[in-house]
């Protein structure tokens, strides 16, 4: 199963995502600090990163760009509560495979994760 990195500034949100995806059999690594997530990316292989756009210091898209630089094969799903044309365009141009609007449905999330991992 896949190695999945989850980054969101809300702790409960990352735990929820971890629980959902763990049940699918994935290995999930959760982070609420963007630096920790990037540090993790330096040392460990990641199949899929699920990133929130609104973080504490950086934008999720910047984190995506950095992780993609480190691991170009990595897949990514961008989550946001503030969907805009601009962030959607940026996310896709920096290599995100999906752009999802929060709150995301469990089934929708599972389906999207499967879809992205099969790419």
């Amino acid at each position: 199963m896949a190695e999945i990195l989850i980054l969101d500034d809300v702790f409960d949100a990352v735990v929820l995502l971890k629980k959902i995806l763990s049940r699918q059999g994935h290995t999930v690594h959760t982070f609420t600090e963007e630096e920790d997530a990037i540090k993790y990316g330096y040392k460990h292989h990641i199949d899929l990163a699920i990133l929130d756009i609104k973080l504490k210091k950086m934008s999720g898209i910047d984190v995506l760009a950095e992780l993609k630089r480190l691991q170009p094969e990595m897949k990514a799903i961008i989550l946001t509560g503030y969907p805009t044309v601009e962030t959607a365009r940026d996310a896709l141009s920096f290599g995100a495979n999906e752009y999802c609007v929060k709150p995301i449905d469990k089934k929708e999330l599972e389906a999207k994760v499967e879809k992205v991992l099969q790419l």
Binding site: V10, D12, A13, L16, L17, K19, I20, R23, G81, Y82, P83, T84, V85, E86, A88, K102, P103, I104, D105, K106, K107
Partner: protein
């Protein structure tokens, strides 16, 4: 007769004749003089003197010539006989001449007195003339003054009459009973009485609010004037206009109140505009607040939803826990929909602008909703204008607006059924496309009309509507630089009768043929700009 006497005799005869000639010449001259100046006393005196002198000359000369003739003819006896008569006549005439001469100074005095009188009379006359002239002048001046004053008065009156007639505000005069004595055209028009003969109006009938009338009258009697008094007046058809009244009391010489004069300004338009502005501001602030709240709620809501879905997996499908979690999930979904609607209302979610044909959108929407409408026995009548110009907009959002409007129309007609009319038209002058959704439902009460675009305002029963449909539609149409207006009751079809239904008119600006290429990216940029800010 002795010869030595001859020269003296000749001299006597010739002298006597000369005396007569000369005295008559004198008489003639004095006659000419008095003819020239009959009133001249001196000439008159001289004339009479000359008459006396002439008679004396005749008497004396004829006497002397008779004497000489008698003496020469030796008839001394006859001469002796008549000489006393001649002498007597001469003496009498001499006396009369003397008398005339003696009374000359009296005459002169009299004449002088008369002259003096005459002079004083002339003087008086002159004074009188002078006075008359002055009087005449004064009279003339007075006439001029009166004329000038009359002209001033006429000008002033015309000025005030013009003011009265041409004033765009109501100008009126009221007697002490409150009956309107006079009101200008603008005032009558304001009250809709302009086309017919104005009836006898009274303040008591004009004031919509009896308390206002009392306040007005109390202020007028205590202050003698009323300034900027807000009053609702009743028009002829019974509708209300909002006015700003100013009035001044009129008092007679005994300081008794006899009435008042006043001006009223129609504030209805201003009031409506202010209400609209307040409403717009309210919508904007509610929108901002809603957006903030929506974003804050979104994250925890997502977590609640996620956990309920996660937990569902832990229980068998028929267990009570599972059923409970289904409820939590369903309600979380309901919340999510509200949040999404709020975000749409506050125009924070993304928009795209492309060329949109309103007819196509309406056809799509009708196709989706038709089945549902038929279930409520509602027929749809299309009346879509051909060659409707395209507009710039977000097709998806506009579709949502029309779905909302048709849902509301359906809701209004769900009990009775009827015909739902969907009509489009294009105004070339205004370059606006109008889409109207017209129902035959219960109509919208005047009282709630101002609130129907407010978020969370709904007339639907709990669970049937969130009260966000029209708010979101309002936000979307405003974002497209358009307007939504309500018409209720509505002039249904071509019959001129008002029916209780409601027409919702959505007006959107046309994408011009010439500025087509320019305005589309501009609109896009604007929308992107909003997205950034959002």
């Amino acid at each position: 007769m002795e010869m030595y006497m001859l020269p003296s005799v000749i001299t006597d005869i010739i002298g006597s004749q000369l005396m007569i000639v000369l005295s008559f010449l004198s008489l003639r001259y004095t006659f000419l003089l008095i003819r020239r100046e009959p009133d001249n006393f001196l000439w008159g005196f001289l004339h009479y003197f000359c008459i006396a002198l002439a008679i004396f000359a005749i008497s004396r000369a004829v006497g002397h010539m008779v004497k000489q003739a008698l003496l020469i003819s030796d008839q001394k006896e006859i001469w002796k006989m008549i000489s006393p008569f001649s002498g007597g006549i001469n003496t009498l005439l001499m006396i009369s001449v003397s008398a005339v001469t003696i009374y000359y100074h009296k005459g002169v005095e009299g004449y002088r007195a008369i002259q003096k009188k005459a002079e004083s009379l002339r003087h008086a006359n002159r004074n009188l003339e002078k006075a008359t002239t002055t009087m005449k002048e004064m009279n003339l001046h007075l006439e001029e003054m009166v004329e000038s004053r009359t002209q001033d008065l006429a000008l002033s009156e015309e000025k005030f009459r013009n003011f009265f007639h041409n004033s765009k505000d109501m100008v009126f005069f009221i007697d002490k009973e409150g009956a309107i004595l006079d009101m200008n055209k603008a005032g009558l028009e304001m009250l809709d009485y302009s086309k017919e003969k104005p009836p006898r109006l009274s303040l008591n009938h004009l004031f919509a609010n009896i308390n206002d009338l009392e306040d007005f009258q109390n202020t007028l009697s205590s202050q003698k004037f009323v300034e900027d008094f807000e009053a609702e007046l009743i028009k002829k058809d019974g509708s209300i206009i909002y006015t700003l009244l100013s009035a001044t009391g009129i008092y007679d010489e005994n300081d008794e109140y006899v009435g008042c004069e006043g001006i009223a300004k129609d504030l209805t338009r201003l009031k409506t505009m202010t209400a609209q502005m307040i409403s717009t501001e309210k919508m904007a602030s509610v929108g901002q607040m809603a957006a903030g709240v929506a974003h804050e709620i979104n994250t925890p809501l997502g977590i609640i939803l996620g956990y309920s879905q996660l937990m569902k997996d832990d229980f068998p499908e028929n267990s009570e826990e599972y059923e409970n979690l289904v409820v939590v999930e369903r309600q979380s979904h309901a919340c999510r929909k509200i949040v999404a609607d709020l975000l749409k209302f506050s125009r924070q979610s993304g928009s795209s602008a492309q060329e949109v044909n309103i007819n196509e959108i309406l056809t799509d929407v009708i196709a989706i909703t038709e089945h549902n409408l038929h279930l409520d026995h509602i027929d749809i009548e299309h009346c879509l204008a051909e060659d409707l110009p395209v507009i710039a907009g977000d097709e998806e959002k506009l579709r949502q607006v029309f779905v909302n409007l048709i849902n509301n129309a359906q809701h209004a007609m769900e009990d009775e059924g009827g015909v739902l009319t969907v009509r489009t038209s294009f105004s070339k002058e205004e370059q606006m496309v109008t889409a109207s959704i017209i129902d035959m439902g219960t109509g919208i009460d005047e009282k709630i009309r101002s609130r129907i675009f407010d978020p969370f305002f709904t007339t639907k029963s709990v669970g049937k509507g969130t009260g966000l449909g029209l708010s979101v539609s309002y936000g979307i149409i405003k974002d497209h630089n358009g307007t939504i207006t309500i018409e209720s009751p509505v002039m249904y079809k071509n019959s001129c009768q008002l029916t209780p239904g409601t027409a919702m008119h959505v007006r959107l600006p046309v994408l011009g043929q010439d500025d087509n290429r320019e305005s589309t990216p501009a609109t896009n940029n604007q929308l992107l700009e909003k997205d950034k800010n959002g």
